[in-house]
């Protein structure tokens, strides 16, 4: 009985949201709520659960915003999807965020010239820091499966504005040891007393913080912006190629 009454209430309430526009504030709030309530299972881009991809505006069990809100607050019986502790308003904000992800999919990405994108990737120095399968450097993030984890819009943004979002696992550190040696690298792990990184020579390095004179996270991504170095078509082709990298 509880669930029936609740679902009626939820549906009635959610009806007020139907087919309204999404404000930037709702989208931003929804992004935060998604990170707290959903990303543990669904992943940062909504595609961690096999067969479910929340980021492309296509849902197996729902088509309207109201149905999505109902699923979030009620869960799905017989599946691992639990009822979330969200108000209808909060659930609606998550819907707004998910809709915005789909809307941000780059129109024309499917038309990208992947061969040209691959050629750009190899000629523009990307492999000096990045790796795809067994080519390139491990100093920067491995991009072998970037297309399965990031959307074209995110990738384009990272190419033209690398500092817009640097994921925690992609941060760089610079340390100076007690004997004056400077080591820069991408952090892999950290605890109270030590840190582990991969340095600019692709060596796995483990350091005790007590042995360091300086230890700082670089504020900005070491990746340069390609804003003025790629035409619009080139950017589209490069992003299209990267989106095509779905892993092995």
């Amino acid at each position: 009985m509880w669930s029936v009454r609740f679902s009626l209430v939820a549906l009635a309430s959610a009806a007020a949201f139907a087919q309204q526009g999404y404000s930037p504030a709702d989208i931003q709030s929804g992004k935060q709520l998604y990170g707290v309530n959903c990303s543990n299972c669904h992943g940062p881009n909504g595609d961690f659960v096999s067969g479910v991809d929340l980021g492309h505006g296509s849902f197996h069990r729902a088509s309207t915003d109201n149905e999505l809100v109902a699923i979030m607050v009620q869960g799905i019986m017989g599946t691992p999807m639990p009822p979330a502790n969200l108000s209808d308003q909060q659930a609606y904000q998550i819907v707004a965020y998910l809709r915005s992800l789909a809307a941000a999919e780059t129109p024309g990405a499917n038309k990208a010239d992947l061969a040209h994108g691959k050629s750009l990737f190899e000629s523009k120095g990307c492999l000096n820091c990045h790796r795809v399968r067994d080519h390139g450097s491990r100093v920067g993030p491995d991009l072998t499966s970037i297309g399965a984890r990031r959307k074209a819009a995110d990738i384009q943004r990272s190419i033209v504005d690398p500092n817009a979002e640097v994921l925690p696992e992609n941060r760089y550190v610079r340390v100076v040891t007690r004997d004056g040696a400077t080591i820069t690298g991408r952090i892999l792990n950290e605890d109270t007393y030590s840190l582990q990184l991969i340095d600019s020579k692709e060596k796995l390095v483990s350091l005790q913080k007590a042995d360091l004179r300086q230890f700082e996270f670089l504020k900005n991504s070491p990746m340069p912006s390609f804003r003025d170095k790629l035409s619009g078509d080139e950017l589209s082709d490069l992003a299209g190629y990267l989106v095509s990298l779905k892993g092995l």
Binding site: G125, N128, C129, R131, R133, D134, S137, R138, V139, D142, T144, N163, Y172, R174, T184, L188, N189, D191, S194, Q196, I198, S200, K201, E202, L204, S206, L218, K219, N220, S221, P222, M223, P224, G247, L248
Partner: protein, 544 residues
Amino acid sequence: MIRPTFALLLAAASLSAPASAQVSFDRLLHSGETPQDWLTYSGSFLSQRYSALDQVTPDNVKNLEQKWIFQARSIEKFEATSLVVDGVMYTVQAPNDIVALDATNGRIFWIYSYSPAPQARLCCGRVNRGLAILGDTLFMGTIDAHIVAVDAKNGHLLWNTKVADPEAGYAITHAPLVVKDKVIVGTAGGEYGIRGFLAAYDVHTGKEAWRFNNIPGPGEKGHETWAGDSWKHGGASVWMTGSYDPDLNLTYWGIGNPGPDWNADLRMGDNLYTDCAVALDADTGKLKWYFQFTPHDDFDYDSVQVPVLADLEWKGARRRVLLWANRNGFFYVLDRATGEFLLGKPFAKVTWAKGLDEKGRPMRAVGMVPTADGKLIYPGNQGGTNWYSPSYSPHTRLFYIPTWDNYYSVYKKENVEFAEGRLFTGPLPASPVPLIRPPQVVSRGEEDGYGAIRAIDPETGDRKWEYKMTDVTDSGILTTATDLLFAGGREGYFMALDARTGALLWKAAVGGQVSAGPMSYSVGGKQYVAIAAGNSLFVYGLRQ
């Protein structure tokens, strides 16, 4: 700030050579010359599980202290022997997660998580015993019978090849063996009626290079040793890592028991190549020779023991031999170029055979077979030893065996129908000693089975000393250049013995059952000794 930093990074990346080959094959061949590393499952291609490190000695071993512990996120037994390369340890968190750690403190660099297919089925735990490495690539067999190649620098998958069908009971639990440009694995699943095989895969692509059928098919030599269709599901698994002799270019592997395990009437014949040592050409997989320890096995006497290679003075001449303490209770010395039987003696109580003939073939004891009512036979189902790594010290010139003695089972024979993917064994033999996991309290007496570490002179087969334990042991053995012997047991201790005398020099409580082999390495001039127990890895070094 961003540009200069990036420029520095770019410069560093572009100036440095492309990722240098971390572990060349030449480095694997000469692993004995770099004892700071542990580059293969058994420490070298000889599989002696012997370390040339000499910082820890009989005099200072009492000063060993625990340096760090890695607690696996797994409830399975920790059976893996770790690799160590240039201060980085690579180990396996059961069932199939590869973990890269700082070998000095256990802090994690990365974890590669493999999700085995839910169809994977194993008789004896969702476990893994370790990795192989070549260049910058790690290789792991998986419990759903795949082999994966993973980048040793970042833990990213490079290739994934299906070796066999897990639904039919195939699995891979042992550490692969790299020889030249190939990585070799064999299939477990002998209790599920598989038809086991060994196969080599190209290290760069994962493409199969050769395959050796552990049970010969129609037209292949040895097929006649299987009655009727029994060859189709006769077991012959592989679940321990082989060895390699670069001079002979032969790779040696132990083959598992025939199935069904305890009703040999259903597979009349010798059942080649079950319970065999096989020597294969490493380039082609062609059989050079074989030696069968237990023809027509009624007792589940797998011959999956690690083949230990040694060069001995044998009747006045240098001889390249294979040392083998078999699950069937006999210790063997074979010529590893030809497979010739040189010596064989029991190292534990044996009643299933009266002895070995001049060719090394067992002379079966009359009436010592499984019966409908049950027959008490030594050694029991787990053998006089089993998969637990032995050790050979070229310094003491002794061979060390984890031993179960006074150990018996009551073997029953029943009819068994084959069904794919289902157990194909017959009734499990009964014994006072539990099969795998120990009870919390040990109340049986020595007459019902006990454990020991036994030192054997391989030139005579005679026992030099033994270190007795109340409970049996699933632990491997490590020896070092300073004549130390490290081993554990089911009781949850990790010990150091004097390898010359068997005297106890040091022990530590590790809580859980030891079901792995010890290994040693050094970083920054400090020697470490590692042992897995329960579901954790314990690392010891000298107190500073």
